[in-house]
């Protein structure tokens, strides 16, 4: 089966344009990066040099992995339920688009801005550390392992969160309900990244590598789980026929 890049691109462009003008989405997408940026910033500005040793024990950079764990679920949850709610799903599905192209387009439209936002926030934080933190604090915070983990785990966490969001979105007729449920369903990921960040779960290279591999497997399998949940007939008529 061949997929059309043009059709996938059409869905991605439409989603990005639509999301950019949707105030509810913009607020939701902006709020999580702000929430998860505040605490690390407080550390930079308030922690004295003497606390550098304590900072070495934690992985504050990884705390910001909550951003890619939560932000995309909001976008993904809106993807199908939002179309249903505004009555645009039927015209969209009346075109030659395949189910796989539709879902992939929706997933990419949630992945690209979420990962971009996460990286921008991350870069902003590192910039603040380098510019404003006490040298000892900066040395305690910025570790190669954490930076690499942050870069690699961000898209993988976002992928997982997106499949959760789309799965819930295909089963919900109300976009807001879908968004709330998706956030709740993504919370275990936030818990996991927070436990690692605060060293409750010790972040060894092996653990982070294992987490990355596990997320990669889940992301690939997520496609197989979500695709059958997308039932044109139920989505259009509300009945399985």
């Amino acid at each position: 089966m061949s997929m059309s890049l043009r059709r996938i691109g059409a869905v991605v462009r439409k989603e990005l344009r639509d999301d950019r003008r949707n105030r509810t989405i913009l607020v939701a997408v902006a709020i999580f990066p702000l929430i998860f940026l505040v605490q690390p910033l407080v550390v930079i500005f308030l922690e004295p040099s003497s606390s550098a040793g304590t900072l070495r024990e934690s992985h504050l950079l990884l705390y910001m992995l909550a951003i890619p764990a939560l932000t995309p679920s909001v976008l993904a949850a809106y993807s199908v339920a939002g179309e249903r709610q505004q009555g645009s799903l039927e015209p969209m599905l009346s075109t030659p688009i395949r189910q796989e192209e539709f879902l992939l387009g929706k997933a990419l439209a949630a992945l690209v801005p979420s990962v971009a936002i996460a990286y921008v926030v991350f870069a902003f934080f590192i910039g603040c550390v380098l510019l404003f933190a006490q040298p000892a604090v900066a040395h305690g915070l910025l570790r190669g392992q954490d930076i690499v983990a942050q870069l690699l785990l961000t898209p993988l966490l976002a992928g997982f969160s997106i499949w959760i969001g789309i799965a819930i979105s295909t089963r919900s007729s109300d976009a807001r309900v879908a968004q709330q449920l998706s956030l709740v369903a993504s919370l275990p990921l936030v818990l996991l990244t927070s436990l690692i960040a605060f060293d409750v779960i010790h972040a060894t290279t092996g653990l982070l590598f294992g987490l990355g591999v596990a997320l990669l497997v889940v992301d690939v399998q997520g496609w197989r789980v979500v695709s059958p949940m997308f039932n044109r007939e139920r989505l259009i008529t509300g009945s399985k026929g």
Binding site: R6, R17, N22, Q86, G87, E90, P91, M92, S94, I236
Partner: protein, 318 residues
């Protein structure tokens, strides 16, 4: 069934669709020729939209089969069929935060339309919306949104166009523009499957109509349906009541029966109005009656529709 150029635009064979215990469409069969404007009429809940969705490959039939442009209606053929047809649903379903042009760009890409800019410009011109291309769809009136949806359906140059209540909510001028557009499309060889509640619209635009009420109640040209359902009649109106109408009409050749229609009106069942009308006129004049009018009664498509739908209502009561 295999795809070929001489195959009918639509061929539907004993098609049924059930949702759980509810039967939406039951054992429906018909064909629509290429380039035909086919009206699909029926009361609310009759299964019209369900039929369109089945033929548009959006939902699967429960039983029976169909072919669109000779392509069998199977899940594997969905993309191929949808590439050659277009559906304009009753609700426009536009992206309201996007401009008219952005909506059309999205759909031009979904149909993989060559020269999308040119196609979009042509579709906008066809529906008289070129000047509103950069307006957000959310800022348009219901009628204008309907026109955008129509432009969207024209983008892919479809061979079969399904229009579900295309003039619903439009003012008379806008509705007339849609009618003119449908006439133009017919001249261009596009097959149009028109679902409508406006019977005068169906009568004016459609080559043939089908009346559906879960089952297919009748199908044919509007003239055929009138003749099939109603006896041909002459309506006679006089100034005063006739003293002996029974004796008068019984003596006129070609008059098979009659009944009164008000105090001074008479409806005569005739086999051929062209033969009966002069004879009836002569008989009335010879009897000294003052005739106000005499003419053939015309039954509208609405009469046909109401006759059939009322039959169903009566049957349901029994």
């Amino acid at each position: 069934m295999s795809e070929n150029a001489s195959a009918p635009a639509l061929s539907v064979d004993h098609l049924s669709k059930r949702f759980g215990d509810r039967t939406a469409v039951d054992d429906v069969s018909f064909e629509v020729g290429r380039g035909e404007v086919f009206g699909f009429l029926g009361p609310n809940g009759a299964g019209k939209t369900t039929t369109v969705r089945v033929l548009g490959t959006l939902i699967a039939p429960s039983s029976g089969s169909a072919a669109i442009l000779g392509i069998p209606l199977t899940p594997e053929n969905g993309t191929r069929i949808r590439g050659r047809i277009a559906i304009m649903p009753e609700a426009p379903g536009l992206y309201l935060r996007l401009s008219v042009r952005e909506n059309l760009e999205c759909f031009a890409d979904l149909y993989e339309t060559p020269d999308p800019r040119e196609r979009i410009a042509k579709a906008l011109t066809a529906v008289n919306l070129a000047e509103r291309a950069d307006d957000a769809c959310g800022a348009l009136s219901k009628g204008l949104r309907q026109r955008v949806a129509l432009a969207r359906a024209l983008l892919s140059d479809p061979e079969v166009l399904f229009l579900d209540e295309p003039t619903a909510g439009l003012d008379p001028v806008a509705a007339r523009e849609v009618h003119e557009l449908i006439a133009e499309l017919r001249e261009g060889g596009v097959t149009i499957f028109l679902t409508t509640h406006r019977l005068e619209e169906a009568e004016r635009l459609c080559d043939r109509v089908a009346i559906l009420n879960t089952t297919l109640r009748t199908i044919g040209r509007p003239d055929e349906l009138r003749e099939r359902l109603f006896a041909r009649t002459l309506a006679v109106k006089t100034v005063e009541p006739l003293p002996e109408p029974a004796r008068l009409f019984a003596a006129v050749p070609g008059v098979d029966g009659w009944h009164e229609d008000g105090a001074t009106g008479y409806v005569l069942a005739v086999s051929d109005p062209a033969v009966a009308a002069p004879a009836v006129t002569r008989a009335l004049v010879e009897s000294g009656a003052n005739v106000l009018s005499i003419g053939e009664s015309r039954h509208s498509l609405e009469d046909v529709y109401l006759e059939l739908v009322d039959e169903d209502v009566e049957a349901a009561r029994r």
